[in-house]
């Protein structure tokens, strides 16, 4: 259930100015990255560092097009595909994880199994271990199943990656609902299905949205699994981004910044829209107010 912060005291525009200054200092590295996206290589490495310069859109152009070596024509870089892949894989996997997680969360909340807490603990543990721990066996497993390089493989993995978080978070939303209302509905002859879809789900829609956004933030920038388990057609942006980190030159700061900037836009707006649910999300639902 969405709740606004109950703020401690109120302040005026003067306070806004103060926080803006502090906020901007904090934001400065991000600001610098965004500025760099509009710089040429020599501007990006200028001494002293340049705050004012003639902006160029070349980097953004280079995100999607490169110049052919033999003919000098421009070719697509497939970055469009990688943006699609990132969005498709992340949204599908996180969406699926939220659905599966919601079902499980409802059960954990309303129909505790024997050893309920043990299940919940094991689920949480799988999320908290360093990804590097599972990558070796997952690799060996993908080697047999033929999942390597397919959309299915990486989506299943990301789904598994997001389930623990979804279960814990959504369970806390269910726990907060008043069971008496549900019981009253049952007394009135509602089916369990109707209790679930008609009463419970509508009340936690905002919570589900927050769960979705949090999953998205965690999945959006995932690098290691994506590097090792996607193929050339299913590659995601964080992997493709690595092409700016060294080849014929070292880091292509402008190009990297341009990709980072573009890649930030979707997640920034989704976060902004669901900011009020953030608080609950970050703690995996274990913190209740």
């Amino acid at each position: 259930m969405a709740r606004k912060y109950r703020e401690v005291g109120k302040a005026g525009w003067g306070y806004t100015a103060l926080t803006t200054v502090v906020g901007f200092i904090y934001f400065f590295p991000v600001f610098w990255i965004i500025l760099t996206a509009f710089k040429t290589r020599t501007d990006a490495l200028a001494v002293p560092p340049k705050l004012f310069f003639t902006p160029t859109l070349d980097n953004f152009y280079s995100v999607f097009f490169r110049t052919s070596i033999t003919t000098g024509n421009s070719q697509a870089t497939d970055m469009g595909l990688y943006f699609f892949n990132s969005i498709f894989i992340a949204f599908t996997a996180v969406g699926f994880a939220v659905i599966v997680g919601t079902l499980a969360a409802y059960a954990f909340s309303r129909y505790p199994l024997r050893g309920n807490d043990t299940y919940l603990f094991i689920i949480l543990t799988t999320r908290m271990m360093p990804p590097i721990v599972v990558i070796i066996p997952i690799f060996l497993m993908f080697r047999i199943s033929g999942l390597a390089g397919s959309y299915w493989g990486i989506m299943l993995l990301y789904t598994a990656f997001n389930i623990p978080f979804s279960v814990w978070l959504v369970k806390s939303f269910f726990d907060e609902l008043n069971p008496e209302i549900e019981d009253a509905a049952r007394m009135d002859g509602s089916t369990e299905r109707r209790v679930f879809f008609g009463f419970c789900i509508p009340q936690i829609l905002a919570g589900l949205a927050a769960t979705f956004v949090f999953g998205l933030i965690l999945t959006w920038n995932e690098f290691l699994f994506a590097l090792l388990l996607t193929g050339v057609d299913t590659r995601t942006v964080p992997v493709a981004m690595a092409r700016t980190l060294g080849g014929e030159v070292g880091v292509d700061y402008g190009l990297l910044a341009a990709i980072v900037t573009l890649f930030l836009i979707p997640i920034f707006f989704v976060t902004f829209l669901l900011q009020n649910q953030l608080l609950r999300g970050v703690t995996f639902g274990t913190v209740k107010k």
């Binding site: 070796i136 089916t191 913190v287």
Partner: protein, 305 residues
């Protein structure tokens, strides 16, 4: 209140039968987790008792606990754990301080708060790779902005990453910058949950601000702070990309964390079994930390109820 037939006996109703409802609803999640997570874990647990190497055609043989023995007697392992502990503790402490201060700042309601708050929340959304690359550039003594600014006060170029202490500081600052907003959100939750009447009572008593803070505010955020510590500890334990990009574990091995060490063993040296054993030791530590975390969560739940 509804025209739905509560007596119909279809598949849905069977599914919703109270006897198996819970188990059924949990099944999809458990199956996916088992296939993608638990099964691979058990597999690598098995591997950790062999001498399997992914770049060798030799048939693996059973070695019992010898991989664990090797890992635990290798002094490099302990060095890496110490480095990790140092980085984790300094980063988490810094995150707590910065996150706490930010929370105090943003606890009040003020115009445009949602927008200004976004300035602080954005670092969490960046990829580790880009944070690593740009902080490395900031620290670079010739091109970097840090060295440029400090150069107003010194004659020599300031070289951040030349010493073990400087390199650790460089990593800690980047990581703490990225994740302090997380702590801020938790503390914010604590601050806004303090019942207003307590503050009003304190005002009547003419208690000093400091005293008000310690006796009223702090108890409400105490357990949340503990949560933040544990949560960030677990997360920072995984720290890999930022270290790998900013220092590659250097100078020497001064910033080589356990995650980097594990990565090298698994993917560069292909000591598959050996690294599985190391991974299990890491997992054991993470489970202990997770337990601590849950213990503190439960304690908080009891306090609130």
């Amino acid at each position: 209140m509804t025209d739905h037939t509560g007596t119909r006996r279809g598949f849905g109703a069977w599914l919703m039968d109270p006897k198996r409802r819970g188990a059924l609803l949990v099944t999809p999640a458990i199956v996916i987790l088992f296939v993608m997570n638990i099964f691979p874990l058990l597999w690598s647990f098995g591997l950790s008792f062999f001498n399997y190497k992914a770049t060798s055609q030799r048939v693996p043989t059973f070695k019992g606990l010898s991989n664990y023995e090797k890992v635990l007697t290798d002094e490099r392992t302990w060095e890496r754990f110490q480095t990790t502990a140092l980085i984790v503790s300094s980063s988490v402490i810094l995150q707590l301080i910065v996150g706490f201060l930010l929370a105090l700042l943003f606890a009040k309601a003020f115009p445009m708060r949602r927008i200004v708050l976004m300035l602080v929340l954005t670092p969490m959304m960046l990829s580790f790779v880009s944070v690593g690359v740009f902080f490395k550039l900031f620290y670079e003594p010739t091109f970097g902005i840090v060295s440029y600014v400090l150069n107003f006060f010194t004659t020599e170029h300031f070289v951040m990453l030349a010493t073990p202490a400087g390199a650790i500081a460089g990593i800690v600052i980047a990581d703490a910058w990225m994740w302090s907003p997380f702590v801020m959100l938790l503390v914010l939750a604590g601050l806004v949950s303090v019942p207003k009447y307590l503050y009003e009572a304190a005002e009547v008593d003419r208690a000093s601000k400091w005293r008000t803070f310690w006796t009223i505010t702090f108890p409400y955020i105490k357990s949340l702070l503990l949560l933040a510590v544990l949560f960030r500890t677990i997360e920072t334990f995984k720290l890999f990309d930022i270290v790998y990009i900013i220092t590659e574990g250097g100078p020497g091995s001064a910033t080589e964390t356990i995650a980097v060490f594990l990565y090298r063993n698994a993917f560069q040296f292909f000591k598959t079994s050996h690294s599985s054993a190391l991974a299990y030791i890491v997992l054991f530590i993470v489970i202990v930390l997770t337990n601590l975390y849950l213990y503190s969560v439960n304690r908080r739940a009891e306090e609130v109820d």
